[in-house]
């Protein structure tokens, strides 16, 4: 029997089709000729003649070849066990998927490693994005929220960014502006709410009658406030917040018309607010603001404002418009409007702006982690791609096209990414839950809800897809460029890596190291800044201090003396409790809010119109407060009870910042101060205390004056107790004492000072350590990448190393050489990373609390650390190289 294939091949010389295609055609035609010959023979024709006749039928071989070249047959898929793509997107996908899953199963450790890395990267991104989404992307719960603008006033001269809007200003703004559909104002308030013997402290809002319509909301029950109710002397009416309505009245629809006691005054319920009425934050009820716009009745700057822009009006136009209105008031005699001016802010930005840069930095951090994971996977795949060269070469030989192979490899990557994505999203969701549970209450507006939504889902899909592409494209392209013949020839032999591939792998390692270094330096700086904040002297001793607040209804405690007596009595009773070392009363404990006023010092020259006139934090306290909170006296002493009465306040205590501002370089003791513009008596400074970090450890301190309660009897005060035991254990005894004095008074804002302090730096603690975790993960990933690449290089060079050692190279030399080559790559990575860091740290500057963004200690430590990790990751495979047994290595073949 003739070799038909040989004959066909001879006739088709010059066919020059690609290898796989040609061999198929040859096969088919050979079979045809064989069949033909068989048929001729069975019809009785002798074999030789039959053969010749069959061959003759192949006449026109040149034409055949020409015809065949014209036709592009789709690549045969059968050799790979895959039917041809019939045009549908999914048709080729299912078999590709099957192959991918089979490959994943057979290379389980590789699969787990890749999935794990991706999961780590995606988990971080999912969690952080979810937070970012909840804070900044999800729309506010109001109608057309983009039209809503926060309104406030700013007073640079007082060193205050936001002072609040005064009632005379808002009346004029509301009346004369041309750019707003509506404008409403509100202020936070709190009430002792009692209804049929049930007393509780609730937060509320005093709001202008139009707040609900400006927000685009409607009452769920009853009606909104009427304009006539929002005037001084108007009817006492209240709208219940949705939550309070549910909580206290079980959603009773007959609540309308019910009379409740707010601070012992009767208020009639006229409506129930919708759930979306979230201003002021955490307000459980609204009462009308009920002020007028008469400048003589100004209550100062205290209101928050919200405006609904007319459609088509830009923020800048509105700003110019309000400024015009505001300036016109000056001409009409409102001189004070020279100091303040309207400031318009995006609503969300106003409440969450502080978190924006932190969110961006954290997002950047996790993105880098994911990038490193992808680079790592790319390197792993390239390494694996080399190992798979034979498999891919065989596929190419039997007709798989380049596109086909790329698609197969990409499918594998997509499946891997999907697995990583799913695990990562689950991990991320768990991490998010953990982070939220660690978040102290009341740190964010209550309308921020952390949950996963469609945008989150979309993000996860997108990021998983991006990861698949990022980590899969390069290896797929490289693998598909395989030179079939040489790959098949070499496949059984271990050779050194080609120069190009070695360069690619080294570049990836350099990239990884530099990214890990940048993250680590960022984390080092942030953690250092956090430590610096922690080491700030708070100016008081927060340990073992319990604080709670009490508000006296002015109807019951009309006379100032009654209030003074109440609080002095309460402080004395607290002091008498077993376990209490000292107790005092203050209007504002540290981190307890700001009450500003303006003071002047005797002998200081009068302020010019352009002089800075910083607002002074004014704290009212009893003498016992200084000891209870643990303030440090730098000079002088606390004021005494007998140094103030309702008519005359003789003494006050100032803080360091105050003393430095008014009497730089001098002792303030014995100096005199008074309210600015007051022609009354001077107050003598009797004590100087170290700055109490009133606004937070990482915040600047304002000048502060502490004045006696007897001279300034307020109705809302906080009781501060220093205890000899766990402060929490004194909550119940303290509550009992308060109930004995006045059973109708709720005790609220009960917290230890340590808690308050912890909460004030919670965000900084969280983002600093989060960033550190990201950096840690990045370094581990980079180390894994270095280790993987060097291990592979060493394993590929086993034979070469064996030859060298057989020729007399010492293990130490091999170790040194391998390590040296590896460390050159690490060093380049460190240098690139260093350059990147110098640029990147600028983004962190605002968060560094005075730590230099080029802190040499941090830079040095991180560089050493990363280099050490790099050394270790190189050392393990290098030692393996040095321990190669030449005999064994050469026997490999």
């Amino acid at each position: 029997m003739p070799d038909w294939k040989q004959i066909v091949r001879g006739r088709l010389a010059g066919l020059t089709l690609d290898g796989a295609r040609e061999s198929e055609i040859v096969d088919e035609l050979a079979q045809h000729l064989e069949d033909r010959c068989q048929a001729l023979r069975s019809s009785g024709i002798p074999e030789a003649q039959a053969t010749r006749q069959a061959i003759d039928e192949l006449t026109g071989g040149e034409r055949l070849a020409e015809e065949l070249r014209k036709i592009r047959r789709p690549p045969p898929a059968e050799p790979m066990g895959i039917p041809r793509n019939r045009g549908g997107i999914m048709t080729g996908f299912i078999p590709d998927l099957r192959v991918a899953l089979r490959n994943m199963r057979t290379k389980l450790s590789f699969t787990l490693m890749v999935t794990g890395m991706l999961a780590l990267g995606i988990a971080g991104n999912a969690a952080i994005f979810s937070i970012f989404n909840s804070l900044f992307l999800r729309s506010l719960p109001f109608a057309e929220p983009a039209q809503l603008i926060d309104l406030d006033e700013t007073a640079p001269k007082w060193n205050l960014k936001y002072v609040g809007v005064s009632n005379p200003d808002f009346f004029v703004w509301r009346k004369n502006n041309a750019t707003f559909d509506g404008m409403a104002f509100f202020t936070q308030d709190s009430f002792n709410l009692s209804d049929r013997g049930n007393v509780q402290r609730v937060l509320g809002g005093n709001v202008t009658y139009d707040l609900l319509p400006v927000l685009g909301l409607k009452p769920v029950l009853g009606r909104n406030f009427l304009p006539e109710e929002d005037r001084p002397g108007g009817a006492k009416v209240v709208m219940l917040g949705y939550n309070l309505w549910q909580r206290m009245f079980q959603g009773d629809r007959n609540i309308l018309g019910r009379v409740l006691q707010l601070d012992d005054e009767s208020y009639t319920v006229v409506g129930v607010l919708p759930r979306e009425a979230v201003l002021p934050d955490r307000a459980d009820l609204w009462t009308p603001l009920a002020v007028d716009g008469d400048p003589k009745n100004s209550n100062g700057w205290y209101l928050s404002g919200i405006g609904r822009l007319k459609h088509g009006v830009s923020m800048d136009q509105a700003r110019a418009d309000l400024l015009r209105v505001h300036k016109n008031m000056i001409q009409q005699g409102q001189k004070v409007n020279e100091i303040t001016s309207p400031v318009l802010t995006d609503l969300r930005e106003r409440y969450l702006g502080d978190f924006r840069s932190v969110s961006h930095i954290l997002l950047g951090g996790v993105a880098v982690v994911l990038l490193i994971a992808c680079v790592n996977i790319t390197a792993l795949m390239l390494v694996r791609g080399s190992a798979r060269a034979r498999e891919l070469a065989i596929r190419t030989a039997i007709g798989a096209s380049r596109n086909r192979i790329i698609r197969q490899l990409l499918t594998e990557n997509v499946v891997l990414a999907l697995a990583g994505g799913i695990v990562g999203i689950l991990l991320g969701a768990a991490a998010l839950r953990a982070m939220i549970s660690l978040m102290p209450p009341n740190t964010l507006p209550s309308w921020i809800v952390f949950s996963m939504d469609a945008r989150f889902a979309l993000f996860c899909v997108a990021i998983t897809g991006a990861a698949a592409l990022l980590s899969g494209m390069a290896p797929a392209l490289q693998a598909s460029r395989i030179d079939t013949r040489s790959a098949l020839q070499d496949a059984g032999v271990r050779t050194t890596l080609s120069r190009g591939r070695r360069f690619t792998l080294a570049s990836l390692v350099v990239f990884e190291i530099s990214l890990a270094l940048i993250l680590s330096i960022g984390a080092g700086l942030l953690v250092q800044a956090f430590r610096k904040v922690l080491s700030v002297d708070p100016g008081f001793r927060p340990e073992n201090v319990l604080v709670y607040s009490v508000n006296l209804p002015t109807h019951k405690y009309k006379k100032p003396e009654e209030r003074v007596n109440f609080f002095e009595n309460l402080a004395n009773r607290m002091r008498a409790l077993p376990g209490v070392k000292s107790a005092g009363v203050t209007s504002a404990p540290p981190l307890g809010g700001h009450w500003g006023n303006f003071w002047e010092a005797e002998g200081a020259k009068p302020l010019g119109p352009n002089d800075k006139n910083p607002v002074v934090l004014q704290i009212v306290a009893t003498p016992g407060y200084f000891d209870a909170i643990g303030m440090t006296f730098l000079a002088g002493r606390p004021f005494r009870d007998d140094e103030a009465d309702l008519k005359y306040t003789r003494s006050a205590v100032v803080n360091e910042t105050f003393a430095k501002y008014y009497w730089p370089g001098q002792s303030p003791i014995g100096k005199h101060i008074r309210y600015q513009g007051n022609t009354g008596a001077w107050v003598t400074v009797v004590g100087l205390v170290r700055d109490e970090k009133h606004y937070g450890l990482d915040q600047d301190m304002k000048p502060s004056v502490i004045i006696p309660l007897r001279g300034f009897p307020r109705s809302g005060m906080s009781i501060v107790m220093r205890t000899a035991m766990e402060p929490e254990s004194l909550v119940a005894p303290a509550r009992n004492v308060l109930r004995e004095i006045d059973a109708d008074l709720p005790m609220f804002a009960v917290r230890t000072m340590t808690e308050r302090l912890g909460q004030s730096i919670w965000a900084r603690r969280a983002y600093s350590w989060l960033f550190a975790v990201f950096a840690g993960v990045a370094v581990i990933l980079a180390a894994a990448g270095i280790y993987g690449v060097v291990s592979y290089a060493v394993s590929q060079r086993t034979q070469e190393i064996g030859i060298r050692m057989a020729l007399g190279a010492q293990p130490r030399q091999v170790l040194g050489q391998t390590l040296g080559a590896g460390m050159i790559v690490v060093s380049i990575g460190v240098i690139v990373g260093l350059a990147g860091s110098l640029a990147a740290v600028r983004l962190l500057q605002s968060l560094l609390f005075g730590v230099s963004p080029r802190d040499p200690l941090i830079f040095g430590a991180v560089i050493l650390g990363v280099a050490a990790v790099g050394l270790l990751a190189n050392f393990i495979p290098a030692r393996r190289a040095a321990s190669v047994d030449p005999m064994h290595a050469l026997h490999f073949e």
Binding site: Q31, H32, R63, E67, I71, R73, P74, P76, R86
Partner: protein, 114 residues
Amino acid sequence: MADQPLDRELKKGSAELLILSLVEARPRHGYEISKLIEQRSQGTLRYQVASLYPSLYRLEARGWIQGRWVEKQGQRRRRFYRITPDGRKILALQRQGWQQFAEAIRRITGIEFA
């Protein structure tokens, strides 16, 4: 296509019609196709290897037929061609076209087809 005037494809495309018709009932390999054309035309039509296989490959490239290697026990593997759903549509159209063509010829020449 049926409404269009007889196109150029029709005149030179008899090979396509024949091949599609033959693989319509069941998949067949190349040799079988050439044998059947010869047998059923009682020797009138014969396709050279040089024209049969390019036609097969062209039809395959268009997605009208699909080739597949099949190995049967005790035989060498052969490439069987089956008709695809697209191919069936084309076959139906071409049959109609040929009938119209034949009808037209008959009217002109007066030749009666049995």
